[in-house]
Amino acid sequence: MNIADLSLAEASDQLASGTISSEALTSACLSRIEALPALNTFIHVAATTAMKEARASDTRRANKASLGPLDGIPIGLKDLFVTKDMPTTAGSKILADWQAPYDGTVVKRLREAGAVIVGKNNQDEFAMGSSNEHSAAGPCVNPWHKDRVPGGSSGGSAAAVAAGQVLGSLGTDTGGSIRQPASFCGIYGLRPTYGRVSRSGVVAFASSLDQVGPFGRSAKDIALLMNVIGGFDPLDSTSAQRDHPDPLLTLKNGVKGLRIGLPHEYFSAAIDPEVDQVVRKAVQALQEAGATVQSVSLPHTKHALSTYYILCMAEASSNLARYDGVRYGYRAEETELRKMYARSRFEGFGPEVIRRILLGTYVLCAGYREAYYERAQRVRTLIRRDFESAYEGIDILLSPVSPTVAFERGSKTNDPLAMYTADILTLSVNLAGIPGLSVPVGFSSEGLPIGLQLMGKWFDEARLLQTAQALEDVLQVHQQRPKLVA
């Protein structure tokens, strides 16, 4: 077995016992990156510094000065994370040559934990997309099928973990951008509760919905990464000031007595029958392990899609105003200020980003703000209340992650609405600010991964991971590796 196929938790144990070295592990990962350029999972690979960091980690271990379970683990970062020693492009031409002078909070925390940062992963431009096709670096490919998308926007981060190019990675999830690619790539992806992980040093898309989260190949991988990146950060005013229980302590506690709710709005006719079948089989497995299951209702679900897109576009139009060609990034040479702005932004941003900025500007304009933005804010409150009511009788909500398996590249790029609809099952989590976990639970007849979504109460990530672990123990889906890699 190639050591790049180990889960993060397994590799961590083997590094601790001295069976493998970080140098060997990092080298195996870098070879995978080199061997599979067609996946286009990385925008930037820092091979030399990664190897240096790996050797430094091995030295620490030799000196009994390990920095913890992540010390020496090769990690990938979505290119939205600001890094002082690698470029940060956000998948956009407008930041093509930008070098940040600082590391963001989670990057610092990873470095302090000894993680080996291998490079920056491909993504949809400014995290706007569900297929990782809208990237200035070109589309990323699903390791399970060369014609399929890896999902998005954190497509490169998910695909790189699935392909064994890194053992874990970080993405961001604004409307499903961690969970959907995790599902399409057959791995675990957690979108934590809003405020659980710092957004400081992460290029903003929609501030009230963005949240940083990890990808891994097992529930324990996610727990190990969360223990390092999570927690209060004074540099992010929306960061939650509270203690978080260590999810490792409850990981193996099983699901006996767990009350699971199936929101019937999430099991509609639009769900692909194969997806529906695989998810229901997983539900049965949980019941057999001692959980109880009941149907619940989240009545405002039908408004989630329009609410989400109004709000995320409004915030994006504002967050992306700083890319004006004045201080950094792409600038079109013009002698007149207005023309310089217009051309820099028109040439620097891709079509999906421009579409969202235009729509977002529109919904905030005088005369329209009340009808769109303010109404959407009120609906958002109703959606959050749906979850509050549902959680009064249950512990956890369960649904598919995506109505379909990974779709074909190019099949939705000319139909933005169809693309937006791909997020239908994930974006309510962002509107409510609750945690959502994508768990690999099976495959379609074509051999494409299918993911299940667990949605928890605010700050109840530990219970999501505990449930995922129970599924993992029964289904053993996480052991499968994509064909392209083999």
């Binding site: 540099l235 005013s237 929306t238």
Partner: protein
Amino acid sequence: MYTGPSVSHHMGIPTTLTEVLRTYEPVIGLEVHAQLRTESKLFCGAPNRYDPEQPNQAVTEYCAGLPGQLPVLNVQAVDMAITAGLALECTIRTHSVWARKQYFYPDLPKGYQISQYDKPICEGGRLVIRDEQGEQRTIGITRIHMEEDAGKSIHVKGRPYSLVDYSRAGVPLIEIVSDPDLRSAQEATQYLRELRSILRTLGVCDGNMERGNFRCDANVSIRPRGQTSLGERVELKNINSFRFVEQAIEIEIIRHAQVLEQGGTISQETRLFDPDRKQTRTMRSKEEAEDYRYFPDPDLPPLVVSESHVNELREILPELPANRRQRWMNTWNIPEEHAISFAEERALADFFDAAVGSQATLAPAIANLIKTEILRELKDTPEAIAESKLKPEDLRTLIVHREEGKISSSQAKKIFAKLWKGAGSIEALLKAEGEQIQDLSVLTPIIEALIQANPKQAEQLKAGQSKLAGYFVGQVMKQTKGQADPALVQKLLTKALEKMG
């Protein structure tokens, strides 16, 4: 030299302010931007130190609007805004909301300014001024909101580029919006002076218009006298001194009257004051007005202030200028002119209070000395009294000695000059000057010797050439090193001449 507003003459069209005011009543509201004197900026740790001589020295990643940067609120600025609100008798919101005001300009690094929109921190206050007849007038305060300042754009004449100084970007501001309660340009400057004096007393703003840390926009309209509805208003910008505020408003009032008298209409617009040409000109019309697309800033939770914290700040409010003036005038008999000028500058007012201490009867004498000597020394920087070497209690001791006649006024002046330079302690200086010589056994022999030495002059003086008295007194003062009591010398001289027989 500018001698007051006037415009070219038309038949039947008012050309002077006096003429206009016969028919029309001006209605004015002011928007004041005051930079808060915090240690650091409003949303990042950069020092709040904007120095045009050293551009871009107080700039962090946040100030430059780099990707990934988030705002972190400076609570010192919030306390200062609340303090200003309390001094202006506003209601303090326990729950206010940060909003993004969006527009593109190179000195605005994020493409939006974090401000407050429909839920500002302070609302509904008031400020009392005196009108031209000396009557009290209450001017309503609509609101005070907090926001970040933009960077400073510098347009270099003849160069194909502009420069931007981001040291100013993110400096905390409060915007104080008055109700349209002001009725003349003179009232507008009164309001501004009083407001500045309050903010300086609170220590929240330097209040220097020329340096731009206290800036003013004026909303001006006029209406026929007796009409209750408001006329169309114009916003005036670029008025960066008290003098310009008065000029710009008066010029605008006359312009409105002329437009209306000629059958025209005033359109709502923003106009720039041109201090060189003494005129205002259109900056942008209502149609060109920017849509700022305000919305709550998702990076910042609502600002929650507890009532107990507001009460704590209320309890430590210093005495406000209006109260101070009243106290001085009523209990110390200080002339209003002095009271106004001292109260305008907190450091000076504090100095005056400390100098008087418990010696209330000396207050007018001390006030007079401050007015004639100290303010002359300080010129345009009365706040520098705080750094002066003169201690207020020493000034009191000096005046006590003078009032009791222990030293002459000229000695007092000399000692003051030394104290001002920090040349010696009050005790040493008083001792060195010695107490005034009133001892007859010392003075009489000196005078007699002088008469003997100058018999001719003595005769002439006795015969009525009184200006020679000055010569004799001067000689005595010289011989006593200025320590003789001149009035006593004069008396003794007259006596000695009579004795000459």
